[in-house]
């Protein structure tokens, strides 16, 4: 049957098919649905599928392997709050549809959200932060994790968005400059591997592209060396924008020291970055 036919016949299918399967239909309605099922393959398929999912292997003959890996708590939260990236969100949707414990977790978010929406705090309530919470806070404050990055070192989401847009617009141009730099202008021979590094100002506007030479340092780590004017970029923050193929790009930052920067390594389970772009934000 064509999908168009299905749409045309939609009104003919019983609306309360699931209620019928739950045993909630009265006698006359059940009879109508019984009659419909005797002639409709589509609805019969839904009935068989629902029964297979409902009754499991013993009564259906199907043995669905239970989902073993639950989505992260953060993924369940993003799914509930509607901010999950589509591919990952879709996988979470399928998982939750067949996982009782994850559905229960969503019920906890729903309940907490209702309480939060109804809650009206009193402004003058005295504080009673538990001692155990203060202990955790003080431990954390004394560790380096609580130290904020300096303003020049951090890259805002807005800047990442601008750089991503810039890369899309200038992709071809960057590729041409990379090819030109790699080939020696006179002999035409290949020079050391050169990597274009984009230089932008604080507003994210392009200032230019500088070529860095890819090399290996004494420790065997991959580095980029600037061979132009010495110390031009010394102590300037260098950022690598890594694309793993999902919605969020990863930014890794470090300082350029003595015209050299060690290439950052970000490891993710079973995946390598598809692309890496490098940039310097200059005052």
């Amino acid at each position: 049957m064509e999908v168009g036919d299905l749409v045309a016949r939609k009104s003919a299918h019983p609306e309360k098919l699931f209620e019928y399967l739950r045993g909630e239909s009265d006698g006359p309605s059940s009879q109508v649905i019984d009659e419909h099922l005797s002639t409709c393959d589509d609805c019969r398929a839904i009935v068989a599928l629902t029964r297979a999912l409902k009754h499991g292997p013993e009564r259906s003959g199907f043995s669905l392997e239970p989902a073993r890996t639950h989505p992260d708590v953060s993924e369940i939260a993003s799914f509930f709050y509607g901010k999950s990236a589509r591919p990952r969100g879709a996988a979470t949707a399928a998982h939750v549809a067949s996982c009782r414990s994850c559905a229960q977790e969503l019920a906890e978010y729903a309940s907490a959200e209702r309480s939060a929406a109804e809650y009206s705090p009193s402004h003058s309530l005295a504080a009673e932060v538990p001692a155990a919470a203060w202990e955790l806070i003080r431990d954390w404050e004394e560790s380096s994790f609580a130290q904020q990055k300096t303003a020049t070192y951090a890259v805002s989401q807005e800047m990442i968005a601008k750089l991503t847009q810039l890369l899309v617009q200038r992709r071809e141009e960057l590729e041409v400059s990379r090819r030109e730099a790699v080939t020696h202008p006179e002999s035409g021979s290949e020079r050391a591997a050169l990597v274009p590094v984009i230089v932008v100002d604080r507003s994210g506007s392009l200032r230019g592209v500088e070529m860095f030479e890819r090399a290996t340092d004494a420790m065997g780590a991959d580095v980029l060396k600037y061979t132009g004017e010495p110390e031009r970029f010394d102590r300037k923050p260098f950022h690598a924008l890594l694309d793993f193929g999902d919605s969020n790009r990863v930014v890794v930052s470090d300082l350029i020291l003595r015209d050299e920067i060690r290439l950052p390594r970000v490891e993710r389970a079973d995946t390598e970055p598809r692309e890496a772009d490098y940039f310097i934000v200059e005052d």
């Binding site: 699931f18 549809a97 906890e108 729903a110 959200e113 309530l125 932060v129």
Partner: protein, 236 residues
């Protein structure tokens, strides 16, 4: 009243009482680098306003916490995470919602961790010295053959594909889980997930239409045909 930078602020009770959540959070963030005492005062006031909510979420959840990781421990960790995460509050939603999310996530994280801890057994132990075989000892092996496991995995993939395509958001997923496949009534679902009863019926009807379309697009007319298909051929 704090000065403009917030750092080194003179914070008095009156200012703490009269400030909005946004002002308290801004001053907390501005002070946290240079004036920790001021930051802590602001944080205490924020928690003072929302501690009832944090307590309520943790203590009224359906989860039961073990003695070694009690509700009090969860509350302390949730408060710590609020402290650590306040900079992430974008002020797009209410602070209560932001705190509720952190608290619920901490609670779920704890329950998952407890569930993984094999030493936790919520059932009473009858007699640890008894020679009688336990219920676990008596249970038949559920290990399936490799062939059966392969079929089962394949069927799981097909069903996952179907659910991925028909469930558009969390409400669809829980209605499939609890109403279509499970035995829970619409009223109970509406209370458990804070949605109207009408919405449960509406969504169930829409899911039925999407299921019909999904099956028709693939020429599937029985569950047998669906579950004996190849997973790759199911993709839209």
């Amino acid at each position: 009243m704090p000065n403009e930078s917030g750092a080194g602020a003179e914070i008095d009770e009156r200012w703490l009482d009269e400030s909005s959540d946004e002002e308290l959070v801004d001053t907390f963030l501005a002070s946290s680098k240079n004036d920790r005492q001021a930051a802590h005062l602001c944080f205490e006031r924020i928690i003072g306003r929302y501690q009832w909510l944090i307590n309520h979420i943790v203590r009224n959840s359906r989860f039961r916490f073990p003695a070694w990781d009690s509700a009090d421990d969860v509350i302390s960790r949730a408060i710590f995470k609020v402290y650590r995460g306040l900079a992430q509050w974008r002020k797009e939603g209410k602070l209560s919602s932001f705190i509720a999310r952190i608290t619920t996530s901490e609670m779920i994280d704890t329950i998952r961790r407890v569930g993984r801890d094999k030493s936790w057994d919520p059932r009473p132990v009858s007699d640890p010295d008894s020679d009688e075989p336990t219920a676990v000892d008596r249970a038949p092996s559920r290990e399936a053959s490799p062939e059966a496991r392969a079929v089962s995995t394949q069927q799981r993939e097909i069903i996952d594909q179907l659910l991925t395509d028909v469930c558009r958001d969390w409400k669809d997923s829980v209605i499939v889980n609890e109403y279509i496949v499970g035995e829970r009534g619409a009223k109970e679902i509406s209370e458990k997930y804070d949605m109207s009863e009408d919405l449960v019926y509406q969504r169930a009807r829409r899911l039925r239409v999407r299921l019909l379309k999904w099956l028709a697009e693939r020429g599937i007319t029985s569950a047998q045909a669906l579950l004996s298909s190849r997973p790759g051929s199911m993709r839209s």
